[in-house]
């Protein structure tokens, strides 16, 4: 009894934090989303997503977030696997190396990409020095995707690495003893057992990528309008907080939807493995 009281007491600062910084703002957003500028009830801010411009931005966001997630997964899984199989004692150091870039300001790292990718940037200088034609990447969809992959990659590597670390080596050895080759073991044992890591990785990359607007602001040159940019501009440039909130709610629905789909995949896989 005392114990429970103590734990809930310790959780109080967090509860207050959540109340003030999460729940209250959510209600505010909902309030703005369901009213017009005169304060009357309306659903038009939510249905505004069917507007051609908004649909296009939402679709572009989904596309960019999807491609970002796939590329992150393709890069992160082998990295996590190599990391896991490394025969060095201080693995913490290797993990530290992957987290290290995150210590630096995110904007600075994205600005560095501007310098690398610009017309007269580092990449093009190298290309022209070795006689190759220069490329135009900065301020395109490609640059935005690249920036997101760069930024979100650690969020994919770490959960997968964690999941791999939890796999009991004996299970892998048993598979080998029973005659499974490396590939079969990988597909049938390692991947299914690291599913949790993959799924949290996907969520941790896809969700922020879907709602991001900073990367596209810096690397999109005002030409790549993601749904996050539309929302930002409704709040600032257009001064239409109602519409901005309405679109935020729609985006939130998409985020929740994608998370529940991933959780469904998670559950069904776990169920399958239990049998």
């Amino acid at each position: 009894m005392i114990n429970r009281f103590r734990t809930s007491f310790l959780a109080a600062p967090y509860a207050v934090w959540v109340l003030i910084c999460t729940i209250l703002p959510l209600f505010y957003i909902l309030g703005y989303a369901l009213t017009n500028d005169a304060g009357g009830f309306t659903l038009s801010n939510l249905f505004a997503i069917t507007d051609a411009v908004h649909l296009k931005s939402l679709w572009l966001s989904i596309e960019v977030a999807f491609v970002t997630t796939i590329i992150c997964l393709i890069i992160a899984y082998p990295v996590a696997l190599i990391l896991h199989n490394l025969k060095i004692s201080n693995k913490g150091f290797v993990v530290f190396l992957f987290i290290l870039p995150m210590w630096m300001n995110f904007m600075l790292r994205i600005l560095a990409w501007q310098i690398i990718l610009s017309n007269n940037g580092i990449l093009n200088s190298i290309l022209s020095a070795i006689g190759l034609p220069t490329v135009h990447i900065l301020y395109t969809k490609t640059a935005v995707t690249l920036g997101m992959v760069y930024d979100f990659l650690p969020y994919m590597i770490l959960p997968i690495y964690n999941a791999l670390s939890k796999i009991n080596d004996q299970v892998v050895e048993a598979a080998a003893d029973l005659g499974a080759n490396w590939w079969t073991t990988f597909i049938k044992i390692t991947v299914p057992l690291s599913k949790d890591g993959i799924i949290s990785g996907i969520i941790m990359v896809f969700v922020p990528a879907l709602s991001s607007f900073v990367v596209s602001n810096l690397l999109g040159g005002g030409k790549v309008l993601l749904i996050g940019n539309v929302i930002e501009q409704e709040f600032t440039l257009a001064r239409n907080w109602n519409l901005g909130s309405g679109l935020s709610i729609i985006l939130m629905i998409f985020v929740l939807l994608s998370m529940s789909i991933m959780n469904k995949v998670d559950e069904s896989e776990n169920g399958g493995m239990l049998v």
Binding site: V53, K56, S57, L111, S118, N119, N120, G121, H136, L138, Y139, G221, G222, K223, L225, N229, V230, Q233, T236, L237, A238, R239
Partner: protein, 355 residues
């Protein structure tokens, strides 16, 4: 229409701002001796601000904003009672029409005589009876170009921004009103048109341009031009002057079709709680020394006639900083849009960005 220095400098300025505002801490806006000032970012020399506080003994809570829209949003949010604000012509007109302005007492401004009468006259576009404003800086919108990549003939018409030859080497201004102005000038429309068909055509022309545009920039324009990533950029004159400081191959022109003349001015909003201090502030901004220091920091054209004697011939002859009478003759001030036109153009701008 603000001055944009390197990111580093911005860190510096932003580092200073909170310290300055702390001097007026506590119940800040309502503290009896604290003047609340709102101005564009990096639009004042820090020493001038310090000197004002020292000489007048008035504490200043100095706040900054990024764009005209930010200023309006900040002001309208109503959480801070601003005493004196500097912003651009058409936004002042909007606020005037909304009844948000308090008349300036020109008799209490001994330094007001330093202000160029021509600029005061031009201010009639947004302050017709000249009751509310005191000009701070003015400038034009034009093209900053690299003389090694483009010749002057090409950039003497806005048409150059639709030239496929410069694909991916054109930087367009990331501001709805200014971008529309460029296309409207090319189409021969008035820059203050509210005709839906004309606005629609403006939008379509900008959509045509988008495939050639390297980026829509505002803050990073001059850095992009200094590093020669682009051949030409639509930007404000002060931005251009900054770029030309760093790269000798850059030059600035207001194309023959003409463009926009803008005037940023001080005014007193209805929320003012310290009218006398606000007058002292405005007067201080018109003072010879303060105006000179500010000018040497922001590099926009100053309406203060006393500044000239402190500048060398080269600066004074610099047509980028001080537009000639002929150039000004081709330029026009923006007029405030009515609510319907504002909403319509905002929608078109969003459509262009998504295009």
């Amino acid at each position: 229409m603000k001055k944009k220095f390197m990111s580093l400098l911005s860190v510096l300025v932003f580092g200073i701002t909170p310290i300055l505002s702390f001097t007026g801490c506590g119940s800040d806006a309502d503290a009896t001796d604290t003047l609340v000032v709102l101005n564009y970012g990096k639009y004042i020399e820090a020493d001038v601000l310090k000197r004002f506080q020292k000489e007048t003994g008035i504490k200043v809570k100095y706040e900054e904003y990024e764009s005209v829209e930010d200023m309006y949003a900040k002001y309208k949010a109503g959480s801070i009672n601003y005493d004196v604000i500097c912003t651009s012509d058409y936004m002042i007109e909007t606020l005037r029409q909304e009844g948000e302005l308090i008349p300036v007492d020109y008799n209490s401004l001994p330094n007001y005589k330093n202000i160029n009468p021509d600029i005061i006259e031009a201010s009639a576009a947004f302050d017709p009876s000249h009751k509310y404003t005191v000009p701070y800086f003015y400038g034009t919108v034009g093209i900053l170009y690299n003389t090694n990549m483009v010749d002057e003939d090409t950039v003497s018409s806005w048409d150059c921004l639709w030239n496929p030859e410069y694909k991916n080497r054109i930087v367009m201004i990331n501001s709805q009103r200014d971008a529309f102005m460029v296309a409207q000038k090319k189409l021969g429309y008035d820059i203050n048109t509210t005709d839906k068909l004309e606005l629609e055509n403006t939008y379509k022309l900008l959509c045509d341009e988008k495939k050639y545009v390297y980026a829509y920039l505002q803050d990073e324009t001059y850095e992009c031009m200094i590093s020669e990533d682009a051949a030409m950029a639509v930007c404000y004159s002060g931005e251009a002057a900054m770029g030309m400081e760093y790269n000798d191959d850059l030059d600035y022109i207001v194309p023959n079709e003409g463009g926009n003349l803008w005037i940023d001015s001080w005014f007193v909003p209805r929320t003012c709680k310290h009218y006398d201090a606000a007058m002292k502030w405005i007067d201080f901004m018109c003072e010879e020394k303060a105006a000179t220091e500010n000018f040497e920091y922001v590099w926009y054209a100053t309406p203060n006639t006393k500044v000239a004697q402190h500048e060398d011939e080269k600066t004074l002859a610099d047509e980028t900083v001080f537009p000639t009478k002929e150039t000004l003759g081709r330029c026009k001030l923006y007029e405030a849009y009515d609510k319907e036109t504002l909403d319509y153009t905002t929608t078109l701008w969003k459509k262009l960005k998504a295009y």
